[in-house]
Amino acid sequence: MSTNCRRRLIRDFKRLSTDPPGGISGSPCPDNIMLWNAVIFGPADTPFEDGTFKLLLTFDESYPNKPPTVKFLSRMFHPNVYANGELCLDILQNRWSPTYDVAAILTSIQSLLHDPNPNSPANAEAAQLYRENMKEYVRRVRATVEESWLDPDEHEAMRQEDEAAAASSSDPSSS
């Protein structure tokens, strides 16, 4: 069945494959056009350089009148990315416009890597280091860059180890 949303997503995919903006790629899952996998390559001259950060975009039937849900699958260390991979980006929330497409969304996220907004932190530690200790911020980001090269299974194992370590060293608090 073809719906408005699906037709628009097909157009988005066409545009992304014929005229791809630099440093991003994305495509729908073969069996579900409402689910897209994307990769953002860390922009040059930023601590994220050379990273291959994977994302998952989930659309519902109200797209493009509503934004998709966007989540990093790769572990990120960035002031505006939550621990669960969700991100805090105005155009995906209250400044969404139906004129945005997948290419525009991915390009905006790419420039967010470049230009974090420490005033609306989703990761307080990353925001603090970004403001006060650039050297340590860069070191932590570089660690995620290296992790981003691992395949998903290795990555998941690493994440579980991290979570186990975090759980044993501090009280989990909801935020």
Binding site: T3, R8, R11, N65
Partner: protein, 102 residues
């Protein structure tokens, strides 16, 4: 030599007068910014282009398929703003003259 015309076929083309030159700057033609379908096509909810799926102009000069724009304006998230420039949407007093296509 005498030529006798036995049959002839008229071919006509129409397009909305959106007040722009034919040569579009990006070469991809004019598409509705919301559904990305050419203005001369119809919005994804319609089957036939033409008067049943007209365009709508804002006072900000932005143009969309009427159905696409109204669907967006109908959402709370739109805050009744133009999707292009976020100014309050005011429909311009401009009617497409269907009898006078370019």
């Amino acid at each position: 030599m005498k030529v006798h015309i036995k049959h002839w076929h008229a071919i006509a083309q129409w397009r909305w007068d959106i007040g722009k030159n034919d040569d579009d700057d990006d070469g991809e033609g004019d598409v509705c910014g919301i559904c990305r379908v050419p203005f001369e096509g119809c919005c994804p909810s319609c089957k036939m282009p033409g008067d049943d799926c007209p365009l709508i102009w804002g006072e900000c000069t932005h143009v969309f398929h009427m159905h696409c724009l109204l669907q967006w304006i109908g959402t709370a998230a739109s805050k009744q703003q133009c999707p292009m420039d976020r100014r309050p949407w005011v429909t311009a007093e401009r009617k497409v003259d269907a009898g006078n296509p370019r």
